[in-house]
């Protein structure tokens, strides 16, 4: 009996399962509540008698979520694409090439990681205002179009590639660009993927910056839409939860599809 218990690690599961349930409880509660009727939302029991799927249609109509999704998607896609591109180029420059002043510039890059967001928040707002970007896509995209974390991640990946690799390709008459696109990019793809996921999540989930640089009804991200939906007096709980599920779903699906790469990429990125 004890051997059987041990073999299946039941003691460990006994500790982990309740903790895991606690972590998942808010999600389950959200899902359950989103399918309740208005009357049922005061019940403590988390699941409805009959699932009310029309709540989703109602929540979708309660605010222009279609528009919010468009703004968030365009922003996140543009940020992700340019972070990958600038990360690849920057990483190549630091990790594969040799040039004078390289270490100094890399040092400056890394130092900017220490600058806290709240210090540059106000000046960045003033800069964006001077550029007349308020309420426009560039304000959401350009300041985040490159980040040091991604450049550094790709730099580490380039450094771990064998040196003679590039020499050989060059001797075969392969130019820098050709080498970068055809040979190097696929080799550092895992780091690029990690950088991409972080850029996407960071952009999709950000709230403070969009709240500051956007102020018209037309330009709003999903996060902003949800948060004002949330703060409206009298918004009913079941619709709020339906809205939350809708807002969560894209990110959750992306994460679940790529979770292995994401979690391992995170661990690998921190090692460097």
């Amino acid at each position: 009996m004890i051997a059987w218990w041990r073999r299946h690690d039941l003691g460990t599961h006994l500790l982990l399962l309740p903790l895991g349930l606690l972590m998942a409880a808010p999600f389950l509660w959200m899902l359950g509540t989103s399918l309740k009727t208005f009357e049922e939302t005061t019940n403590l029991w988390p699941w409805p008698a009959v699932p009310q799927w029309q709540n989703y249609a109602e929540a979708w109509r309660a605010a222009p979520f279609g528009r919010y999704f468009l703004v968030s998607t365009v922003t996140a896609a543009a940020v992700t694409a340019s972070v990958v591109l600038t990360g690849l180029l920057g990483g190549y420059s630091f990790g594969a090439l040799r040039w004078r002043g390289q270490q100094t510039v890399l040092g400056v890059y890394l130092a900017t990681m220490m600058v806290p967001f709240e210090v540059i928040l106000i000046p960045n707002y003033l800069i964006v205002q001077k550029l007349h970007w308020i309420d426009r896509f560039p304000a959401l995209i350009v300041p985040w179009a490159a980040n040091v974390f991604s450049v550094f991640l790709v730099t580490q990946a380039f450094r771990s590639l064998p040196k003679d690799f590039r020499e050989a390709a060059m001797l075969d008459g392969c130019g820098h660009w050709q080498y970068l696109w055809r040979i190097a990019a696929p080799l550092v793809a895992p780091s690029l993927a990690t950088a991409a996921i972080f850029a996407f999540l960071g952009s999709w989930n950000s709230l403070l910056w969009p709240v500051i640089v956007l102020n018209s009804e037309r330009m709003r991200t999903v996060e902003m839409g949800l948060s004002s939906f949330l703060q409206e007096e009298g918004a009913s709980l079941h619709l709020l939860m339906a809205g939350s599920v809708v807002a969560l779903l894209p990110v959750l699906l992306v994460f679940l599809a790529m979770q292995r790469r994401f979690i391992e990429g995170l661990a690998a990125g921190l090692k460097g």
């Binding site: 895991g20 600038t86 806290p116 300041p143 939860m241």
Partner: protein
């Protein structure tokens, strides 16, 4: 020589895109913020006022209160997150069935949008606090108003003392119940991240080292104290630094969970306060906001330095050669 020069120019071209963005929106703003903070800068740029903004900030009760709130927030979230994460990581650091399932389960809160998560927690707290308060009353606690925790500005210690008919001096009120709720959400959010990082650290401890220690008779607590914890200390230290810095930047959860309620400032952390002053109507504007942000920057820097000075020496790097 020609190849060298070509390589140099290639490097510059490759670096240009990221360098432009980082210079324009990370480096330059740092200087710009300093410049702004020296001005009477409301809606528009006003005259140079020197260090007046800094003096005003240091004399502002709300600023000190927000620092106090941040302090409670750090104390309430960072140790609990690290402790729980270590526990889970150690449980998961063995060939366990369903290991990756647990890993995803614990990590998911970290990736979901803070606003949606806060919406859920707000609903949960509002539904759960009433029955729990009822239960507490039934078990001899005297709660004068069975309020919803998330909009309760009374301090935790004050609340507990009052429920038992005692009272505590105002300096010992502790974090407000509302802030405690926010801390629960913060721990829930960050637990998965810490677990994954610690799990990575644990799996990097060479099995030979553990085997050798076991052969020498080290088991259980001795194995942990003398082998595992020292080898894990760089990872723990990294998490400590990162979480303290992040706790000082907490915004989204507070904005959504308690933003609209006047809780006498008991949930306004430092970053929330900066946002209020710089961007809210009725705030003092960018000049004052920048000064406060710089003060916070210096404090976080000092705190990080302190952690390095006090704990850094005890962190065990490398393989001990």
């Amino acid at each position: 020589m020609a190849r060298r020069r070509r390589e140099f120019w290639t490097a510059i071209c490759c670096l240009a895109p990221s360098a432009v963005v980082i210079t324009a929106f990370h480096l330059w703003p740092l200087l710009y913020a300093a410049w702004v903070s020296l001005h009477d800068w409301g809606i528009k740029q006003g005259p140079l006022v020197g260090l007046a903004n800094y003096r005003e900030a240091l004399g502002s009760a709300k600023w000190w209160q927000s620092l106090g709130v941040t302090g409670w927030y750090v104390l309430g979230t960072v140790p609990a997150t690290l402790l729980l994460a270590y526990l889970i990581a150690e449980l998961l650091n063995r060939p366990l069935r369903g290991r990756s399932f647990y890993r995803v389960l614990f990590f998911t809160p970290y990736i979901v949008s803070p606003v949606a998560a806060a919406a859920v927690w707000r609903g949960l707290f509002s539904r759960v606090s009433l029955p729990v308060n009822h239960w507490l009353v039934a078990h001899g606690w005297q709660i004068n108003e069975s309020g919803i925790w998330l909009i309760e500005p009374r301090g935790l210690f004050q609340w507990i003392a009052e429920a038992h008919g005692a009272s505590v001096p105002s300096w010992a009120h502790g974090p407000s119940l509302a802030l405690c709720c926010i801390m629960v959400v913060a721990i829930w959010t960050n637990l998965g991240f810490a677990t994954v990082v610690l799990l990575g650290g644990l799996s990097q401890i060479p099995t030979e080292v553990l085997e050798a220690a076991r052969l020498d008779g080290a088991t259980g607590w001795r194995l942990r104290r003398q082998i595992i914890w020292p080898l894990l200390s760089p990872v723990l230290f990294f998490l400590l630094i990162v979480f303290v810095i992040r706790a000082f930047q907490a915004f989204s959860q507070i904005y959504v969970l308690t933003g609209q309620n006047d809780l006498l400032g008991t949930t306004s952390t430092a970053t929330y306060y900066i946002w209020q002053e710089a961007f809210q109507s009725g705030g003092k504007g960018p000049g004052f906001g920048s000064a406060v942000a710089y003060l916070l920057f210096v404090m976080v820097l000092a705190l990080t330095w302190l952690q390095f000075a006090v704990l850094g020496r005890r962190v065990h790097y490398g393989s001990g050669e």
